[in-house]
């Protein structure tokens, strides 16, 4: 205590001087960090540019050549666009289906993994690191690798893609969900514990109602990401709109109108999912307007 009072500033002048020192030190640190950041950015950019086949400075004007070509060709054949949209719609449904099933399965496993790896909720606290590592592994392996292996084993089609995406989703959502769980209050859980409820009952009735809206909001974001992922997996033979996109967007086939139609479909899908998820989230967080 004596030390504290000895250090404690007495007059306003002292407080001013001390705070000014503090500010000056912060500014110097901030300046050094900023200089370091800029130096690293410049150095890093130079290294990356050297390793490129061409130079960024020479090539960047050409970045927009491809979209321009796609757009001009699509504009020429604009009449055919509606027909293409109708033609590719079933493939889009397949892609969205893959994403939907993968999100659902991934979210279920993610929920389980998250509850098993949150301190205060996990039934076996000693095993928390194990479940965390399992989630890490799920996230670490690129889904395209899992999909390729599964396509090799099971043959091409939507199922390998679905499993591949579900594995990644379980890892990603598990991590996000466990962060949500950490902010949930343990009091309801304790209340249920006092009534003799089992672990599953405590989690389902005590935790899920608290974290539900956040879970849904993350799961819907993941659904959007998965639509894109499932389209990409089409490139390696998992079917859906990705396969069609790969065929139509290659150079020099004169199919850019088809590619444009597919891009439009994907864009509209993402917009629709975003709108629906916004409305759903709003209802979950604010409750039913009619006052259910």
């Amino acid at each position: 205590m004596a030390d504290l009072t000895a250090q404690a500033p007495g007059s306003v002048a002292e407080i001013k001087a001390q705070y000014a020192d503090l500010t000056r030190r912060k500014r110097i640190y901030g300046g050094i960090l900023l200089a370091l950041f800029i130096a690293l950015m410049v150095a890093g950019f130079r290294t990356a540019d050297d390793r490129n086949a061409g130079s960024f400075a020479d090539g960047y004007q050409r970045i927009f050549d491809y979209p321009a070509e796609v757009l001009s060709e699509a504009a020429e054949k604009a009449v055919e666009l509606p027909a293409h949209v109708v033609h590719f719609f079933p493939a889009l449904i397949e892609t969205v289906n893959i994403a939907g099933a993968a999100t659902l399965i991934g979210a279920i496993f993610g929920t389980l993994l998250s509850l098993l790896s949150t301190r205060g909720m996990a039934p076996w606290p000693a095993l928390i690191p194990l479940f965390r590592r399992i989630m890490d592994i799920c996230r670490a392996i690129p889904e395209i690798v899992i999909a390729l292996v599964l396509i090799f084993l099971l043959g091409g089609g939507p199922v390998p893609a679905m499993i591949a995406i579900a594995i990644h989703t379980a890892g990603a959502l598990g991590k996000l969900f466990s962060e949500v769980n950490e902010n949930a209050s343990l009091k309801p859980v304790e209340g249920l514990n006092s009534t003799g409820a089992s672990w599953a009952q405590r989690m389902w009735l005590g935790v899920i109602p608290q974290v539900g809206p956040n879970y849904v909001s993350y799961a819907l974001l993941r659904f959007e990401i998965n639509i894109r992922a499932s389209a990409i997996l089409g490139f390696v033979g998992a079917g859906g709109i990705g396969y069609e996109l790969k065929n139509s967007m290659s150079w020099g086939q004169g199919k850019y109108d088809e590619a444009a139609a597919i891009f439009i479909l994907l864009f509209v899908t993402i917009v629709v999912v975003d709108q629906i998820s916004g409305a759903l989230r709003d209802r979950l967080t604010h409750g039913n307007r009619k006052g259910a």
Binding site: A8, V12, K16, Y19, A20
Partner: protein
Amino acid sequence: MLRIDKLTKRFGDKTAVEAATLEIDKPCMLGIIGRSGAGKSTLLRMINRLGDASEGSISFEGREITTLKGTDKRAWQSECAMIFQQFNLVPRMDVVSNVLHGTLNRRSTLATMFNLYPMADIHKAIEILDRLGIAEHAPKRAEALSGGQQQRVAIARALMQDPKIILADEPIASLDPMNAQTVMEALRRIHEEDGRTVIANLHTLDTARRYCDRVVGMRDGRIVFDGLPEQLTTGVAREIYGAGADFSEAATSTAIETLDQTEAVRTAEAYV
């Protein structure tokens, strides 16, 4: 100087403030009382332009406030500081930075994003903190302070704006009696020493009576009383709060002395 004319605010089909008319011709300390939902906060928020008015006008020194936009609106907000019930500080920033937020309207966005304020402003901020008796907390994070100290930081931020009017929305509603007194005394001193107008929403009568030069009562969005604190009798208070004969001021009081008074009343009643 401040003139509010038939100011109305509607939320959907609900009218929060109905044709409020008020005129302040010289700097004073004005208390607004009324029960929750009477429209006190809505009125203050309209004056600060945190909320737009549905109808009516507010003018300050001849300038119309309700129609200001963009830069002009923000300039007006810097002239008319606001203090909130829950302090509304940035909890993770230090006290001096929070006070310096009062200068944001005058400084460039880029400089303030990097927390670069002129040393003169920093010194002024610490002087204001010293005036409010919390200079020794200058380098601490705002969240580390008690409620009463945080409210004084909020007042310091308001003073840093060098405002002509200070609006205080229930400044002591979340404070204990001791801190409430310190905060109210600080507001009173600012009015007396700097000659700034203070308009405060208060939820206890005795606070209004003790610190204000003029009291306005609101009920269901309308101004139903406007007068001197002495005119604020129990009958008038019942009218404002829409309470029955069982309404007792002491029951809601947060002042420490009231405890003794209540005690005295009880003893007196026992004798009767």
